[in-house]
Amino acid sequence: MDKVFSVRNRLLSFSMAIRSVWSCLIVAACFVSIILFSLCLGEQFISLPRVLIALSGHGDQDVQFVVGTLRLPRVLMAAMVGAALASSGLVLQSMIRNPLASPDIIGITGGASAAAVCFLSFFSVTLGIIWLPVFAIAGALIAALLIYGLAWNNGVTSMRLILVGIGVSSAMGAITTFVIAASPLSTSITAYIWLTGSVYGTDWNDVEALFPWLFVSWLLALFLARRVNTQELGDQIATGLGVSMQRLRLVLLFLSVIMAAPAIAYAGAIGFVGLIAPHIARCFVTRSFAILLPVSALTGACLVMLSDLFGRLLFQPLDIPAGVFVSAIGAPFFIYLLYRQRF
């Protein structure tokens, strides 16, 4: 049996494998290092001590501007988006019990993108920008329920869910393209965002708007952690152990939507993160959802931050959308997964 770290008293009792605790700390360390790297590197190289001084609010005004206004929000956004998509992917993979599930394949990404471009094209003038994540969530929810409902035929098999998801995603992608082509958006750079995903041009308002969504959804996810573990054993066993499966499934679907959709609303349709970050996390920690969640989130954050960093650095002065590099890393990994028959 794995060495465990356990707490037991009148109020609280739980146990965790020691190996997982170490892995969690290591991933957290990587996360922080990548943030610092991203703040140092760019068009203008700023050394680490100067970055730290700028972060504390002192030092050269120019450096403070670059670090505090240009780079930091962008990096934080990349981190949050990566974490959100990774968490959403983890929830979906647990719920559908198929390691190939992810928000892109299940149509959540497509629904959120379609709703977001509709909002930006038609409603952004009349309604405030604060409504953007709400639209995205609504779009993703509609898409997810549509997919779930269409895949329902006396219960949902994961295969049917994935196939229907591919169909609905194609339709959503078509709608997104249509709206971009037909709208005033088509003249701006923002059109590209919706096709690939990018954190270019993020400011602090965006970061502040996204954070609450993430925080609340993570709390909810941690609360449901044990139930998620149990339902992985199968509908019948889980029901036998006392889980109410139908309700749980809907809640988990809703949870994955509110995790992914706001992130997509701000950064566009970045694919593959939701798929591969949980898998990478699974290599390091045990299967328990409560520990997989933070590690997947951190892994996803690192992935998107690195992709954005490469996008900024590799083809200067051009800024390649982060989504391109995520796909570049993600697709081969996905291929590797298929090769290893991971499902």
């Binding site: 049996m1 054993l233 019948q236 066993i237 036998g240 006392g242 109410s244």
Partner: protein, 276 residues
């Protein structure tokens, strides 16, 4: 409502169906406590459906299932799970799950957010592992085990649930003979030592006769007959329920009835046929 005394699990006027088909119509059935009851019947007769209804996996279209006198659907999932454990047919474990992690899951009905690993939890998990002789294998992942070991792991999980009633849907299907006997012996011991009420579906009539205290023969969604194997395993029952001519003899090792089917075409020992 007629409530026979001392029955932990019973159905009252139970009707069950899928879509337009009715499988079970108005069935009254009481399960005897502290005994092993086996449901037997031909393919599609409704025995698995009935078991699932008892396990709260299917909702009846009419009638009730009573667990210790209360309607099972009026109780919460966790309440039911503390009294009744189900092992469905061919359960699938997620990849990489170890035996110990699986057995721990059996404690779910007793845990909540704050208390997820109490002393009771730990003790009962270890007890379940030792009762099923799985302690040495507890760190192995489920897919690396043999069929019999895997089934023992699932039974260990059901044991960790610490219930009075255990329901099993064809626990011996897909197992070879050795493992079939291994599992059934384990269940028999459990019933002897802990007085667990066991209700299971078996497809092998002879094994059912050997291990059951009660047999219930299901035909076309109704109870054809029920009782101790020596009382009900007779030629006319097998003919009616399985549409098969047979010869009933006594198992030389266990003294329980044993059914030897005639089959359709071959006649090898003419004299034996004529004697019965």
């Amino acid at each position: 409502m007629y409530l026979p005394e001392n029955t932990p699990l019973q159905s009252i006027s139970l009707s069950l169906g899928y879509e337009k088909k009715t499988i079970i119509q108005s069935l009254d059935l009481a399960i005897k406590p502290n005994q092993i009851t086996v449901l037997v019947g031909g393919n599609g007769c409704g025995k698995s459906t009935l078991l699932k209804a008892f396990a709260r996996l299917l909702t009846p279209s009419a009638g009730h299932i009573l667990l210790n006198g209360s309607d099972i659907h009026s109780l919460s999932g966790k309440e039911v799970a503390r009294k009744l454990a189900i092992l469905p047919q061919s359960p699938v474990a997620p990849e990489g799950l170890t035996v110990e992690q699986l057995v721990r899951q059996g404690r779910y009905p007793y845990q909540n957010w704050l208390q997820s690993w109490t002393e009771d939890d730990e003790r009962l998990v270890h007890k379940a592992l030792s009762d099923t002789n799985m302690t040495e294998l507890s760190a192995r992942s489920i897919e690396t085990l043999s069929g019999g070991q895997r089934q023992r792991a699932w039974i260990a999980m059901a044991l960790a649930q610490d219930t009075d009633i255990l329901l099993l849907d064809e626990p011996t299907t897909y197992l070879d003979l050795t493992h079939q006997i291994e599992i059934l012996d384990l269940l028999f011991e459990l019933n002897q030592n802990q007085k667990t009420t066991i209700l299971m579906v078996l497809h092998d009539l002879n094994l059912a006769a050997r291990y059951a205290h009660n047999m219930i023969a299901i035909k076309d969604g109704t109870v054809f007959c029920q009782g101790a194997p020596e009382n009900i395993l007779k030629r006319d029952m097998v003919k009616a329920v399985f549409d098969m001519e047979c010869h009933i003899t006594k198992d030389p090792l266990f003294d329980t009835p044993m059914c030897i089917p005639y089959g359709k075409r071959r006649v090898v020992n003419k004299k034996a046929f004529e004697c019965v």
